[in-house]
Symmetry: C2
DNA sequence: CTGAAAGCGCTTACAG
DNA sequence: CTGAAAGCGCTTACAG
């Protein structure tokens, strides 16, 4: 039923190895033979069997992509990472095996030990990510998006959240703000080890302290109506604060409505800065000055480095930790 | 380097076939032999090579999932389909090869002809979807989410958008509304063949006509600030309309802000009904009476049927077209 | 420039 | 209850 390389060889009157070499270009083939093979392939509609090729070459040309969806969390930002990873993989000739299994470590062992993938991308890596021991154990190249606590032994890519916070505080300081409120992600993200929460928070708090700026840090919420309640409560608690730093996707998405209901105008009554990706901002129509979360660049760099690890000799240098420098986009939401 | 079934066999002092049968359970094995094999597997850490198994059995245990992201469209709703498909696949023992390649037909030929997948799920299928000829050509089982124009020769799952519209009009009619405004998806979705646009629209228009209700149908926008401008324009144009039917994700997400800016209260000044999934509504904090878009159920049913096609004999009956009946959730946004 | 043969790691008739 | 052998569809030394 399926056309094999043997069918093509027979049809073209050559050996199977010649067809294989014609396909790979790994040795010289006479023009006439190449033409006959090309014609046979066109007539029969041949595509090499990926499993057989993988078995022989020990390369699947597939990357594993591990995502996790946490209940009670704001999912729409996830897509900003998945798409660039998928597109970058295709650009490098790889397909994506997407795994959403909540049992991350087991899923990693399964796809790695059965050799379904040549390498693995982990999204949303946490401080003590339970998937990291599995990654170390399976001996496949891997790239992480998100900063783990210790040395992971694999390549790590993340936004420089500390620097992002400092840039935003600087931006407000330059405009004369002396009292700020900071809304971080929900506290359960800290408990899960989402280090971007405290890296951003510490960056903001330290920078504010250096300037003698008062800053009131809070953990926000991820769902309505708690978001509205909490934002209102902390604005009430700090009536003299002139600026709000929002490091919380669900909160920034809800903020326009909340402020409108309070009759608060941005930037006249309150300055607002945040951290989100350009696409996310567009989808939610967010008009705030913000640091780009750089999901696309992180995804592309992680894939490029992973492919390098796969294709170069097993130990192509020590593992990398790369912080993408933040970029601030001024959308006029500060005064 | 990698542990093979031969290593396990040697370690356990049995033949490779015995190990294989112990794993598959396809023939009786003495307790003692089974124990020795189990121990060997545990000590050596054996997982069968997926490529070799696929080559021999002609089954990859992988499903292809094809998504497309259209520029100038509202992406967050896509995740509501991807996740249930992925989870349902895992429940059936399958992994997901996710393909976001904008060249859909080529991507289908590639993953199907190289036998990377046992079946294919197509998301967001349109009236004259260019991917359908490729699906027909490759001779792999497939399941579509979204209704194609003609007979696809494969199983089709979609929400009954006509019925959804009729339910919403009924709901408004029962409450005495006599003049409605309908916001459909952007017109370019119609041009692309998104039949859910006109199925919903026709359902609403016909139902309204039957009741003698005036209805003003419009195509909406997918991005700000056009959304705000267009909603304001059509509310201005129909000051006597008492209810709004929104069949447009980007518009419904923006609606709370827009109405607040106009000083319009729901449902006192205006009744609003819509169509979206429960998760989507939660993420965007949407308080509107709506028909559930049933993304989860569609994904699960598509996968279940696809697996049936794969595992049962090649022709397990004629191809199906299944419309999931809409369910209305009253959130009190009508009066 | 081309071919015959071995082998990647499995599964499964065939044989006992 | 178990084993030896064939074969899935490729790639790549080896040989000419």
């Amino acid at each position: 039923m399926m056309t094999t390389i043997g069918d093509v060889a027979r049809h073209a009157g050559v050996s199977r190895s010649t067809v294989s070499y014609a396909l790979s270009g790994k040795r010289a083939i006479s023009d006439e033979t190449r033409d006959r093979i090309g014609q046979a392939i066109a007539e029969l509609g041949f595509t090499p069997n990926a499993g057989a090729r993988a078995l022989k070459t020990a390369q699947t040309m597939v990357l594993g992509l591990l995502l996790q969806f946490h209940a009670d969390e704001f999912a729409p930002a996830m897509l900003q990472y998945v798409l660039p990873v998928s597109e970058a993989a295709r650009d490098h000739g790889y397909d994506i095996l997407m795994v959403t299994d909540p049992h991350g470590p087991e899923a990693i062992r399964r796809i790695a030990n059965s050799d379904m993938v040549d390498g693995i991308v982990l999204l949303d890596v946490t401080h003590a990510d339970p998937r990291l021991p599995a990654i170390a154990e399976v001996k496949k190249p891997a790239a992480l998006i998100g900063l783990p606590g210790g040395a992971a032994g694999v390549d790590v890519f993340d936004l420089d959240f500390g620097e992002a916070a400092r840039m935003l505080v600087d931006h407000l300081q330059e405009r004369g703000h002396r009292e700020l409120v900071l809304v971080s992600p929900p506290y359960h993200v800290v408990e899960r080890g989402g280090s971007y929460v405290w890296r951003f928070r510490e960056g903001a708090v330290e920078r504010a302290a250096r300037y003698g700026i008062q800053i009131h840090p809070y953990y926000g919420e991820s769902r309505q109506p708690a978001i509205t309640t909490s934002v209102n409560a902390l604005l009430d608690a700090h009536p003299k604060a002139t600026a709000l730093i929002v490091h919380n996707d669900a909160t920034i998405a809800a903020l326009p409505s909340i402020l409108r209901d309070r009759g608060v105008r941005v930037p006249d009554d309150l300055s607002v800065v945040s951290l989100y990706s350009r696409d996310f901002g567009e989808e939610f129509s967010l008009p705030f000055t913000a640091v780009e979360s750089a999901a696309g660049e992180l995804g592309r760099r992680a894939v490029a480095q992973l492919v390098r690890r796969i294709t170069k000799s097993p130990d192509a240098g020590p593992s990398l930790v790369r912080f993408v420098p933040p970029v601030l986009t001024d959308r006029g939401s500060t005064r």
